[in-house]
Amino acid sequence: MGGTLLLSSCSKSFLQPDPLSVYVPNETFNTEAGLMSAMAICDRHLKGYWATDHNEMLILGTEYTFSELMVASATDKRNMLADVANMLTPTSDDGSLINLDRTNSMWYLWQETYKGISYANTIIKYVDQVEGLDEATKNAFKGRAYFHRAFRYMALVFEYGDVPLVTTIIDGPKQDYRSTKRDAILQMITQDMEFAVQWVPDQSAMSLVGLINKGACRMLLAKCYLAIGEYAKAKEQTDILIDQSGYSLMTENFGTFNDGGEPQTWPITRNVIWDLHRPENKLIAANHETIMGMPNRGSDAESFVKMLTMRILYPFLFDGRVKTKDGKQALLNIRRNQADYNPQYDYMRAFGRGISTFRPTYFQTHQLWKVNGVMDEGDLRHSSAVGNWVRMEDYRVNNKASSEFGKPVTLFSDNGTLLCSDTIRRWYDVPHYKFFLDDPVNEANISGSDGLRGATNGGIADWYLYRLAEAYLLRAEAKYYLNPSDGTIKDDLNIIRERAKCSQLYQGTVTIGDIMNERARELYWEEWRNVELKRVSLCLARSGRPDEWGNVYNLDNFDKQSGTDASGGSYWYQRIVHYSMYNKGPIQIDATGNANPNYTMDKKNMYWPIPNAAISANNKGQLSQNYGYDGYDPATPKWDKWEDAVADEMSVAE
């Protein structure tokens, strides 16, 4: 026996590696099904940006706190990212991803975005080795991968400025990256999107909804053209989307009516805006406005990614810090199995059990909705009357121990005492039509559930990536850069306003501010607000067009300024100092973590710091740090042309 084994073990093949449960890339990505597995993760990853980060976070929240529309509001966290000007450093967010103390997703937006790029690069690297794939199919795969890569680079260059350009799956270690300039990356993704628009089929020619389609590619291409200053080309793409692609705005009720969970507490008057934003209607054939959506349904164990909009974005009300005039807790979370239950006051079922990790600014909830100096009462997107919008005054005291039972909650008592001791986290309005999601799992399990948190373990939470409404807004922008006095710009805004049943329409010429306001009203929690504002900042600097206050920006320095004073900075910074809570001084509240948050934002925060971990891991090269942050050195060499960066990357030794 020993002898036999002796012989067999001495043969060379005895030590051959024998991977049994391992998918090796070359043997997996050689079929269309294999490639499709890479595409599936690209698409799932894209959806992730709108879905949860950790249980008290949503990734998109960071995009909104770095805009005029929201601030961080988890006031029980001592390290809440409020004092951004001082707290944000290259090392401030190196920690673990599942860190409940974190109130921003910056590290996620860096790391996960590059993961998304690697998923797309996987398709690009391996697609040519799949045998038996016809040219059109191959190019459609490539085009979709380009879309995923371009979408992420578009976010990176406006969040982080000049970043390392990675366009392939490396074959061996590479640690000598240089940063590539923002505009060079924009040039590359524009070229890629031109290819994608050519090869990716229209949705009508596709069998699956949720796979990247030509319309989505065109939308992204239009944004690329705007970003590189090709405004006419951008307008041309939006013209095609609006006029030649079969899309149209939804103007009447359609699809399935969702009554909003608990109509006795919060009745919904059916309207087009409500129907348009119900997840069950977003991706149906009857919806002609959808250019591209992201299906998010099924079970948590399979394809569903939980959407905690009701948990993260509604005010934190079931708490003693919202009081009645007679000193009682105003709002209780009374479940259906409890004796005191009254379906007229079941706020948990109607609005969820918010913890308010982020809150809107006063601008977002109030000033924004004034058009022509008039608060537009008809605007369905801001209408409490139909149930689309929930104001604090719409809540009624549901604590039977209070003499105020059944009366609306109030911010002040009769003698003017403040009744809510933490107004940051517990007192603001909510665009209910956007954030309300069925939560079938908790709904079925109300006895044990301590609250509906939006869709958690299953349900339907499909989300929009692009709607035709945004194409109008992009066209308005393109027209503005081409000719600000173009009288048709207002039409692109008004068509959206008319659909929302607004009473106020724009007249004459409009400003970039009007366009950005309309974006804020129409695309709340759909667009990446911070990225869009910074893209527009670049467009204004490049085109030399003025903002709504008459400021003109210089391409050389609009993104290289620091300070927290009211003047200067980029258009992004100007929007923030004009409209948000930043740089207005500390606020005193009753909170256990941060009792006097001082919201600040610096002009230098135009770009986020490149994470120190990325710089130090790239130890053979030098990435450039952004202006204003520790480690900034203008002399750091960068790639001016994306072709050079790609050539450098391809030269990596095996």
């Binding site: 090796v24 029980d76 480690g631």
Partner: protein
């Protein structure tokens, strides 16, 4: 004279091959040396010979024997030369001095003397040679230790001798019975040391080998093999307070930065000569005969795998000749917590809540300028708001205080206060009625430990057997922690013919693995005013009522809905065959298949109120491992001209390891989950998952080793080994590891003059290269695709239905050049023995250079890969080990012995990636280059692997330093952090300075691995039957960082929403201006917000105190017992920490103390 005899002893360590009385001896010798005659007998009969005495081997013999049996043959050959012989364990020992005719004594004067020989505990010693000094006669004791001998005259002196015991001389006098007891030999030079693919006597060793015999510490009732090893010089044994026990093992420091729980830095285990793939719990400490730890390269180089990290060879017991011996031990014990992070008492809890709320009101009093409470925020106008009503400051009336809140009419002040501290619902009721739960009582317990072992062993002339069975059932100090194991060992060895020997050793274990664990921290964190049971005495689901959003955790409720059945069943077997070939060559074949079966059956009932059935259900996992290794070994052992001793060993070896795993996670089991984990079939498909994971790896090797010794003075060992491993199979499967060692027993030199003081001395030097192949997976060199959580992505098809696709992500970069990690090391050793070896020990110095180190090289994450497993860098270890054994007192009343061990290890990274950066002077000129550190992994050239490089916390900002603290964005009570590099601080337009904290402010603060370890064991044997011993060990010179002093108490809303009771501790307040602890929820300056504080982790532990007592023989013999011992031991008796105050200094958390009482019976 006798001393000399020991040194001149020659041995043939070749194992007994066959023994048969039916076999006879035929021999024709003419003036042949005794050695050659005995070699001939050895060939014919298979016995090994051991000559004990000067020149016996060279005596000339002339004899002609035909078909004579062994005893007659030996008597014929030896008697007339005044030599005696004895047979013990297959070895024939020939002793005696050539008889001088003058001393011939007439038989008429002889009388008979008998007696009994026992060991130090009174147990009979069989096989003791009894001779008369200066005479040729001798005999041996029988199984009961009894001997009988003819004595020539009253002046005769008996000499009692047996291996492993001090030789004793007793004058006969006129006595007719002489009972003696022998004490174990302090000198273990004769002991057989297992060196891998063979054995050696300790005196022949050239390498650094530490030997441990568990029987010597049997009183301590070691629970695990780790308990046996703990304290040995050069070994680091982790401490594990659980019911199972155990702990990680490290020999002589970390060789490599590669550290991923794969055991890369822990030693290779060898069980009875074969690679042992299991874990140490599978070996019953009671079954272990000896443990040999190969520490230097030369000793370890004959092994592959991960021998570079040291080799631990465990040899199990075997039967001894004589009647069957039955041995039984019974241990009963108790386990209690010895240390943990205790929670606040109720008073301190209330104070802490008050302080926690009050901290947000701190501010500068505009009138006095002092930093005080109730000066900022919404409570600035409400002084004393959170204070107890009976402790209000002057100036605040109770009426004012009450009026801060709108209270119910008639509400008590206590209730008002409690509500301000967050009490409501049930906690308010319990607080007002004084109802308290001690959650520590619900978390910890006094656990009962039971350990029963029985063995039967024995040997006949042809068959040797050892059978044992043990049952262990331990309850840990934590309520959920149970462990049980059944272990059996069956070992048989048979001489089939005189040239063939077959053996088998089957080791069986069935053990539990894990429990439905309590979440200790959550359980302890519950408020003392929360509820544990409802009014009926049943545990409640939520300790806090529904007013709270985080309602606490009650293990005793949760566990009712959970069930776990998890464990391993292991068969480890070793089979060997040994064939005796001509020319003293032996061929042996060894194979050791090992089967391991793992099962994990877990059930989470959906009946748990409020649970989501989609996330509840049954897990079932089964896995099987088949690991085998085999070797073909040829060995040749020959001595020429009496002085040249050669041993040659040639080995061919192969290994294969296969693993198969299946796992099902059934969820949402319908219509009912009443079948528990016995039903997975009815799980709903969309919520359930199944998976499998199979691996396969192979290895082979060739080895050659030569041992040569000259005249017991000079010894040389050389070996070379070539190893291959499939994980490196893409391009570099093989590596070659040579070694050489030499030793000089200088006390054996004729010119050595001080033999009477220094009884034994040996210098050793060795050099060798070892390998390490241990990886967290055998496929790390290959690229792979990752399925993430195994979820899917859904698209909608044309009919609007969900269509789901599996996804795969590129996950790992291939590294086709991955290869063996290599360690080259030198070892210099001195073994010494003084005063007839009453003081003995060794001193070792070693240096080790590990290169081609397996490491996870950090990659920029934006490439899609966070790291690659590769070979780079170099780590050096050097150190000193000192061990000392002494017999301080030895008389009939007391025997006191001491064992002391000290080791020092210095660990240093000398290379990482061989990438250099310029060194600049202050002006920015290049003044040199240096190799780059790896900051992200915390690896620094010139520093130990466990280097601590971080900010230094220097103190705490005090109340009078408000303004200074504000410059760092901090408040009083926050830590002061050294801002070592100030050139990068930013001067703002208003002239103020923003202090920047970054890597340049970090400094080296120490290391996490203890460089110094020492241990001390003292044993006192009183009246020969009562032994008392204690053990101390200590780790010194290591440090750690901790953020505990920052008092991050809320941590996700625990204080605010869950009334948490955090660990009792000191913290900074205005009234307690300490410089050691931060305020509640303190934070460092921007950029160093969570700056940790440095603590010295040095400690000394009184590891155990043991007492053992042998019942007097006259009692035990009545019960037909050979001996009976009772003993008791306390483990982890006390611990002294230098600096650490957050739990046990070794675990950094809780620890346990074990009390054991045991009885050992030998029949």
């Amino acid at each position: 004279m006798m001393k000399l005899a020991i040194f001149l002893t020659l041995t043939f360590t070749m194992h007994a091959m066959a023994k048969s009385n039916a076999q006879t001896i035929t021999l024709d010798a003419k003036n042949t040396t005794m050695r050659e005659v005995m070699q001939e007998i050895q060939k014919q009969q298979g016995y090994s010979f051991l000559f004990r005495g000067d020149k016996i081997a060279d005596m000339r013999v002339t004899a002609n024997l035909k078909q004579v049996n062994l005893a007659d043959a030996l008597n014929t050959l030896l008697d007339e030369r005044g030599l005696a012989w004895s047979l013990n364990e297959g070895i024939i020992t020939i002793t005696g001095t050539p008889l001088s005719p003058v001393k011939r004594i007439s038989q008429t004067q002889q009388r008979t003397v008998s007696g009994r020989v026992t060991d130090e505990n009174g147990a009979p010693l069989a096989g003791v040679t009894v001779t008369i000094k200066g005479a040729s006669i001798g005999t041996r004791t029988n199984e009961k230790g009894i001997f009988e001998m003819q004595v020539p005259d009253a002046n005769a002196i008996f000499i009692f001798h047996i291996l492993g015991y001090e030789q004793r001389e007793v004058p006969v006098g006129s006595k007719s019975t002489i009972d003696v007891s022998l004490t174990p030999s302090m000198s273990d030079l004769d002991e057989v040391v297992v060196v891998g693919y063979g054995t050696m006597q300790k005196k022949d060793l050239t390498g650094s080998v530490t030997q441990i015999r568990p029987d010597k510490i049997a009183n301590e009732n070691p629970k695990t093999v780790q308990d046996i090893l703990r304290g040995a010089p050069g070994l680091r044994i982790g401490y594990e307070p659980s019911a199972k026990g155990g702990g990680l093992i490290e020999v002589r420091g970390k060789r490599s930065v590669y550290d991923d729980d794969s055991g890369h830095n822990s030693p290779l285990l060898i069980l009875d000569g074969m690679i042992f793939y299991g874990e140490l719990s599978e070996i019953n400490p009671d079954d272990i005969d000896q443990i040999d730890i190969l520490k230097d390269a030369s000793a370890a180089a004959i092994y592959g795998s991960k021998a570079a990290s040291g080799v631990i060879i465990i040899s199990t017991k075997k039967g001894k000749q004589g009647k069957p011996v039955i041995n039984m031990t019974m241990n009963v014990g108790a386990t209690q917590r010895s240390d943990y992070r205790e929670r606040f008492t109720t008073d301190a809890y209330l104070q802490h809540r008050q302080d926690w709320y009050t901290k947000n009101t701190y501010g500068i009093n505009p009138e006095t300028g002092a930093y005080e409470a109730y000066q900022s925020g919404v409570y600035a106008s409400k002084p004393g708001y959170f204070m107890q009503p009976n402790q209000l400051p002057s100036g605040v009336s109770i009426e004012d205080w009450r009026a801060y809140t709108a209270n119910d009419t008639g509400e008590s002040d206590l209730s008002i206060w409690a509500q301000r501290l967050g009490f409501t619902g049930n906690t308010l009721q319990n607080f007002l009625s004084g109802k308290i739960v001690d959650w520590a009582d619900r978390t910890f317990r006094t656990g009962l430990n039971q350990d029963y072992n029985a063995s039967i062993s024995g040997a006949s002339e042809k068959v040797n057997y050892y059978l044992s069975m043990g049952y262990l059932k331990n309850e840990g100090a934590v309520v959920s922690d149970d462990y049980q194991a059944i272990r059996a060992n069956m070992k048989v060895n048979a001489h089939v013919t005189d040239w063939l020997e077959l053996g088998a050793n089957v080791n069986f274990q069935d053990r539990s693995d894990g429990n439905v664990d309590i979440d200790m921290d959550q359980m302890l964190r519950n408020s003392p005013y929360a509820d544990y049971t409802d009014e009926f005495g049943n545990p409640v689901q939520y300790p806090l009522s529904s007013e709270y959003s985080q309602r606490g955790y009650n293990y005793d409720f949760q566990k009712q809905y959970l069930e776990l059945d998890k464990g391993y069943t292991v068969f480890n077997s070793i089979f060997n065959a040994k064939v005796k070939l001509p020319f003293n060559i032996t061929y042996s074949f060894n194979a050791s298949p090992r089967y391991q079966f793992f099962y994990d059956r877990y059930f989470m009932s959906a009946e748990l109120p409020g649970s989501d059935p989609a996330s509840r259900g049954a897990n079932r996992e089964q896995s099987k491992r088949l690991d085998w290794s085999l070797n073909n070994t040829l060995s040749w052992d020959q001595t020429f001209a009496d002085k040249h001793h050669f041993m040659v060993t040639l080995v061919q070896e192969a290994e294969e390891r296969k693993f198969w795993q299946d796992r099902i996670e059934a969820r949402n089991i319908l219509p009912s989950d009443a079948l528990g984990f016995h039903n997975t079939k009815n799980g709903s498909k969309e919520n359930s998952t199944y998976s499998s994971e199979d691996t396969h790896q192979t290895a082979d090797a060739l080895l050659g080793r030569l041992f040569y010794s000259y005249d017991n003075r000079y010894m040389l060992t050389a070996s070379i080994r070539r190893d291959g491993y499939s994980a490196f199979g893409t391009s570099n499967p093989y590596a070659t590891f040579p070694s050489a060692a030499a030793a000089w027993s200088f006390t054996n030199e004729k010119f050595f003059p001080w033999n009477d003081i220094m009884s034994h001395g040996k210098l050793r030097v060795s050099y060798g290269k070892n390998g390490n192949r241990q990886l967290s997976s055998p496929y790390l060199a290959l690229a792979n695709l990752y399925a993430g959580g195994g979820k899917m992505h859904g698209y909608l098809n044309s009919s609007g239905e969900l269509e789901q696709y599996r996804y795969l992500m590129v996950d790992r970069l291939a590294n086709p050049t991955l290869q063996w990690e290599k360690t080259a090391s030198w070892n210099f050793g001195l073994d010494f023995g003084f005063l007839n070896d009453r003081i003995s020990g060794s001193l070792e110095y070693y240096t080790m250079q590990t290169h081609d180190m397996i490491m996870n090289e950090r990659l920029p994450g934006f490439t899609g890969f966070l790291s690659i497993t590769t070979n780079l860098g170099q780590v050096n270890n050097k150190g000193i080990e000192f061990s000392l054994n002494s017999l301080n007192v030895s008389n009939d009343f007391l025997q006191w012995s001491t064992t002391f061990g000290l080791s020092y290890n210095k660990n240093k990274i000398t290379h990482l990636y061989y990438e250099y950066e310029d060194v600049l002077d202050e002006a920015g000129n290049v003044i040199g280059t240096k190799e780059m550190d790896d900051l992200s992994n915390g690896w620094f050239i010139g520093q130990p692997i466990g280097a601590i490089w971080d900010y230094r916390v220097t103190g705490i900002w005090q109340a009078n330093e408000v303004e200074e603290a504000a410059k760092y964005g901090q408040l009083p009570g926050d830590p002061k952090v050294a801002n070592n590099y100030t050139a990068d601080d930013v001067v703002n337009s208003d002239g103020s300075v923003t202090h920047v904290y970054n890597d340049r402010d970090k400094q080296f603060l120490g290391q996490t691995d203890p460089p110094i370890r020492w241990s001390l064991r003292n044993e006192f044997i009183l009246w020969k039957d009562l032994s008392v011993s204690f053990n101390i060990y200590s780790y010194m010179g290591h440090k750690s960082l901790s953020g505990n002093y920052l008092n991050n108490d809320d941590d996700g809303g625990r204080m605010a929403y869950a009334m948490a009771n955090v660990p009792a501790k000191e913290y900074w307040t205005i009234d307690n201006p300490t410089n050691d602890y931060g305020r509640i929820e303190a934070k460092g300056p921007t950029g160093a917000a969570s700056a940790n504080k440095l603590y010295n982790r040095s400690f000394i532990r009184l590891d155990n105190i043991s007492v053992g007592y042998y019942l007097p023989n006259q009692w035990t013999s009545k019960w037909n017992l050979n001996r009976l011992k009772v003993y008791g031991t306390v483990r982890n008796v006390a611990t002294w920490a230098k600096d650490w105050e957050y739990g046990d200094p070794e675990t950094g958390d809780w620890a346990s103390r074990v009390y054991t009482l045991g009885v050992n019976l030998t029949f």
